[in-house]
């Protein structure tokens, strides 16, 4: 078994484009769920809106990518208002139901819309404007120890991590402020915060918008880096993976979603590659290569269960803090 190869593959995924996309969406979910206590089970809807906004603007309309980015942010805000205004006055579980339904509505609507490419999705040079800005030297590969990227991937990864840094910095600045204090108070007990003269409804709308825009940024990165937008990439599983990452890293921790997304993708690829190598070298005989895909997700489930039992607070969380409500 070539462990060097397995390791380099896994590490590349851990900081690669896919991890970046999930990471941005998970940071958004951390703002909504981790800090604000909003049960958003449809974060993927915001990712889809971001992806389709740039995809449709560039391919279907033929306009500039940057216009698409602006439209994506505006649409994410509109979606947050649409979801939030009717539901945020109600109990928390209503938002969960509405968001998961909304994310499926958006996926099926996109699937049946010719403008958005139907079931095939939108494919083409979505990121052309973005790649044109690539200032990196014309090398074949950029190598860092076991990790290497092509020139194009390197540019995407570089911008992606800068975006993550920016979004994380913003989250940190907000959460240490009195605004963040109100948001965390709402998570603990909304009525108490209302009795102290805060309009909690307004704060909840704000965190839904903020987290939604972060998710849309993730969607844009996905459309740009892959050059396509596929409706079936936005299934509810996406949101559940985000929750796994968030819990793995530690909810309501600024670095939680980043660590969670990186470790999640590292483990997923690591397990896949080990199984693949094992099967092809004849070490593992009881499964076939086609079964590897589902099996790694079974293992994700088992891993999540173990995490909840032995470290429910995640990697960065504080167990004492988590247990405060249990007394």
């Amino acid at each position: 078994m070539d462990f060097g190869f397995i390791l380099s593959q896994s590490l590349t995924q851990a900081i690669g484009v896919t991890a970046i996309i999930y990471c941005l969406a998970a940071i958004g979910l951390n703002v909504q769920f981790g800090y604000g206590g909003l049960l958003n089970f449809g974060q993927v809807a915001f990712v889809a809106v971001g992806a389709y906004a740039v995809g449709a603007t560039v391919i279907s309309v033929g306009s500039s990518l940057w216009l698409g980015v602006a439209i994506g942010i505006i649409l994410a805000i509109v979606l947050a208002l649409l979801l939030g205004i009717p539901t945020l006055r109600l109990r928390a579980d209503y938002l969960a139901i509405v968001t998961i339904a909304a994310s499926e509505i958006i996926r099926f609507a996109a699937k049946s819309s010719d403008f958005l490419g139907g079931a095939q999705g939108t494919t083409g040079a979505i990121g052309a404007d973005f790649y044109a800005l690539n200032p990196l030297p014309e090398w074949d590969r950029f190598e860092f120890g076991p990790i290497s990227f092509t020139r194009v991937d390197m540019w995407v990864v570089l911008v992606g991590w800068c975006l993550i840094a920016l979004v994380t910095l913003l989250t940190w600045a907000l959460m240490r402020s009195p605004w963040g204090r109100v948001v965390k108070g709402i998570r603990e007990d909304e009525d108490a915060v209302r009795s102290l003269g805060k309009n909690t409804y307004l704060f909840k709308i704000q965190i839904l918008i903020l987290g939604g825009v972060f998710g849309a940024l993730g969607g844009m990165m996905s459309a740009i880096s892959r050059g396509s937008v596929q409706p079936d990439g936005f299934v509810p599983d996406f949101t559940f993976f985000l929750y796994v990452m968030l819990i793995l890293g530690g909810t309501a921790r600024v670095m939680g979603p980043i660590l969670g997304a990186a470790i999640f993708w590292f483990l997923l690829v690591f397990v896949e590659q080990v199984l693949k190598e094992g099967v092809s070298s004849g070490l593992i005989t009881f499964i076939s290569t086609t079964q590897i895909g589902p099996i790694r997700f079974i293992l994700v489930g088992v891993g999540l269960m173990l995490l909840m039992i032995f470290r429910p607070q995640g990697i960065l969380g504080d167990r004492k803090e988590l247990m405060l409500d249990a007394r």
Binding site: L170, L174, R181, D189, A192, V193, L324
Partner: protein, 300 residues
């Protein structure tokens, strides 16, 4: 702390001269409620014809279980919606106004089941109470220089209050690590961060040990001495007798009696409502029956 004792004492003196009868007008009411009705299906949980709350005094709202005290509290403080009726606060109509709006007007309440924000530090619970914070708007919040100075002023005020409520040593602990009694204190201190005109306490003594009860009573008196009107719901008759200037008794949704603690405890309607036919059982911790203890006090 400068205490404006004159408001409290004159208000109390004025009350002593009033006739003890339900719905009587007060000389200087801060809260006036008219025909407040709250129905749950066929049950009229609250049906208050008229109630005035005297400014600067401590008014107790008592009554047997299911009398509608807490529902009345919830309706007045905006956490529940009335089916009929209107009420004013400081002369302004505040019928079915949102609780956050009321809090900014100076009408603040606490809860029967304490709502301390567990995973926030005690000091952050306190800071949350301060109103008019620039840093609570999302754009200035990003830049600390816009709210840093105000934050240190708020922190200083919060620490002074925590000092007064013997919670200063706990300032950096999570509120969830406090005992039940300390949470009651924290909730009261946090409400004071808003500089309220009228503070409504929902069962401040529930689940508090006797030693802490005494200090809670002192705090409630101190709050009145500073000129804040206090209204509270309570089951504990000892507390009602010790601290309140005026007592309002509810039974089956309506007000059946009003008066000074002594008057109310002598009122046969109150004794009936509380005890039914069993007049001999004790209402107070001292073990005396109501009639006995009140008549002794009247003699002395």
């Amino acid at each position: 702390m400068p205490a404006d004792t004159t408001i409290g004492t004159t208000a109390v003196a004025a009350l002593a001269e009033l006739q003890p009868e339900p719905g009587i007008a007060k000389p200087d009411p801060i809260l006036i409620a008219d025909h407040v009705v709250r129905q749950f299906g066929g049950l009229r949980a609250v049906d208050v014809t008229h109630l005035e709350v005297q400014r600067g005094a401590i008014t107790a709202l008592i009554g047997p279980n299911g009398a509608g005290k807490s529902t009345f509290f919830n309706v007045i403080s905006g956490f529940d919606t009335s089916d009929e009726g209107s009420w004013t606060y400081n002369g302004q109509t505040i019928t079915n106004t949102a609780p956050n709006t009321l809090a900014r007007k100076g009408l603040v309440r606490t809860f029967q089941l304490t709502k301390s924000l567990s995973r926030l530090k005690v000091i952050d619970n306190m800071r949350l109470g301060a109103s008019g914070q620039t840093g609570e708007s999302i754009f200035p919040a990003v830049f600390k220089f816009t709210w840093g100075r105000q934050e240190s002023e708020i922190t200083e005020r919060a620490m002074n209050l925590l000092e007064r409520f013997n919670l200063a040593a706990k300032a950096q602990d999570f509120a969830g690590s406090l005992s039940g009694g300390q949470r009651k204190l924290l909730e009261m201190a946090r409400a004071l961060m808003l500089n309220p005109d009228l503070i409504m306490l929902d069962e401040p003594m529930a689940g508090v040990n006797p030693a802490l009860k005494q200090s809670l009573l002192d705090h409630i008196r101190d709050i009145r001495e500073e000129g804040t009107t206090v209204m509270f719901v309570e089951h504990d008759m000892d507390m009602v007798r010790d601290v309140s200037d005026w007592v309002v008794v509810m039974a089956q949704g309506s007000i059946i009696s009003e008066g000074t603690p002594l008057d109310v405890m002598r009122d046969p309607r109150v004794i009936d409502a509380y005890l039914g036919a069993h007049h001999d059982s004790a209402l107070t911790e001292s073990g005396q029956s109501l009639t006995e203890s009140t008549s002794k006090e009247a003699d002395a």
